[in-house]
Symmetry: C2
Subunit: 327 residues, 2 copies
Amino acid sequence: VGPRLPRPRDRGDANVVGDLVTRAREGDPRAVARLISLVEDESPLLREVTAALAPHTGGARIVGITGAPGVGKSTSTSALVGELRKAGQRVGVLAVDPSSPFSGGALLGDRVRMQDHALDREVYIRSMASRGHLGGLAWSTPQAIRVLDAAGCDIVLIETVGVGQSEVEVAGLADTTLVLLAPGMGDGIQAAKAGILEIGDVYVINKADRDGADTLRRELRTMLALAERGEDDWRPPIVKTVASKNDGLDDVVTEIDRHHAWLESSGELAVRRTRRARDEIEAIALTALRARWGDVHGRSELDDLAAQVAAGESDPYAAAETLLAEL
Amino acid sequence: VGPRLPRPRDRGDANVVGDLVTRAREGDPRAVARLISLVEDESPLLREVTAALAPHTGGARIVGITGAPGVGKSTSTSALVGELRKAGQRVGVLAVDPSSPFSGGALLGDRVRMQDHALDREVYIRSMASRGHLGGLAWSTPQAIRVLDAAGCDIVLIETVGVGQSEVEVAGLADTTLVLLAPGMGDGIQAAKAGILEIGDVYVINKADRDGADTLRRELRTMLALAERGEDDWRPPIVKTVASKNDGLDDVVTEIDRHHAWLESSGELAVRRTRRARDEIEAIALTALRARWGDVHGRSELDDLAAQVAAGESDPYAAAETLLAEL
């Protein structure tokens, strides 16, 4: 499931979109919400929206927050928002929750823990449904990030439940990825899985007032030390927090800032953002191609070829060539 | 990383490949090993190989075996091979191990636990390196399955470590997916993660002589009962085994057979195999397109577009259109 390239529309639509973008940039939360809905619902205005947003993007820092269920992600996100607001930052939050019962985008402020910030006009909070049953990010997540970025957010937090591949995907979308852990979560590092050790830019041990926090930190430090890193590479720090008591979040903000400074000075920021744009372009192009392959002679060309391969009448390389020859 | 479409070759190559396929079908393990190496190494003969294999494919049942580290996957796979050999079946095993130190395909019989079967000419065992650091399956896994299928295996077992997305991918490749669990693995079902409950056709509780096996079965049964299933849908059974004592494997084989009978009678087998072929064709076509996008004017067209999008000079939809217009 994903967007087909929508048809171009007339001038009137462009004005509607331009007006929404102007209002969003002035801080109108309803305009922000409407723009996110337009990208999420694959509106025919989608193309105008992304075109109108483009010149205003690139200013926000994108921070992913991931970790296994139970580590306190929502509490940490909420506490982090509070800390960032103290510093006067405009903050966007995208909460991507695979277990969300909402099939589309949910209402602003629907996350209970986020109610603290629901009336703050400098905080945009949005829940997004996940794409599939295995918890991947919705295809529209990058577009929703663009909306919040263009709306003048200084920082956009993307909170995902660490299930399936979503933690890897969020690392692909973010400039900085926070990986949350907590003591007493089964096997600690083992439970966190190998993959998570490769995506964190900052590790946060939440619930650090509990037994086992120091052991977890020691284990984590040992695991991280095993990774090969060059002289100038970023070395992920480990921060301890008790998010429910707003404890340690200042250190988290300090490390996010420090990582961002490294991203800029090392040139890695441009590398990550270009890679992200490339993935996004390719995904859109592939979706358009899929739509085309599915629409030849009113029946799916690709389905016909797949049936031939499944029956042993053709092989996948020959079928791929047929498909490409039709472009 | 993946295959470009290799150039067509002359007749001599076709004869070499045809000869290898003939010998593989006659049961020559060296011919099987050579064919897998050809697909794994992206040999220029890759296209001839897949074309020569195609008419002989479709006979093997493809069974995926997945589960978290420590549940006893290798022991179970080895015991299952023994059980299938008792029934006179020709068995292929692909062990996809993300932690494997081998960068390419490893030698036949390199898995210690599989040594029992290393001298059995009716068993082909192959370790394959995984694709990336997060443990996905190698792109060549479907091609290696084709080799074993065409070589006359009655059943091909694909063993993967349940890390990252590999368990989801193996379900996409298999007719029947076995999910292994064991008591005492942290939080049991919680540790098994939500995703695993959606991909299993047969659940195996290994180490069932340990404390907690019955609790685990009860929990699992409750979780599985929550899934909505229609009247005629498959209801995944739960089997208990002690693989290290060869206990319960006959029940696993019975359930694999029962699931296969259901796949055939319900028409789901054709659906799954056609879907698999479609994914494979699409992946090959996309890889060829990527190579094309990366090769315009000696510099990557896609990289240029991505840099423009990252700089806010273009948007991803406009960039995708430019890319597609060049095809």
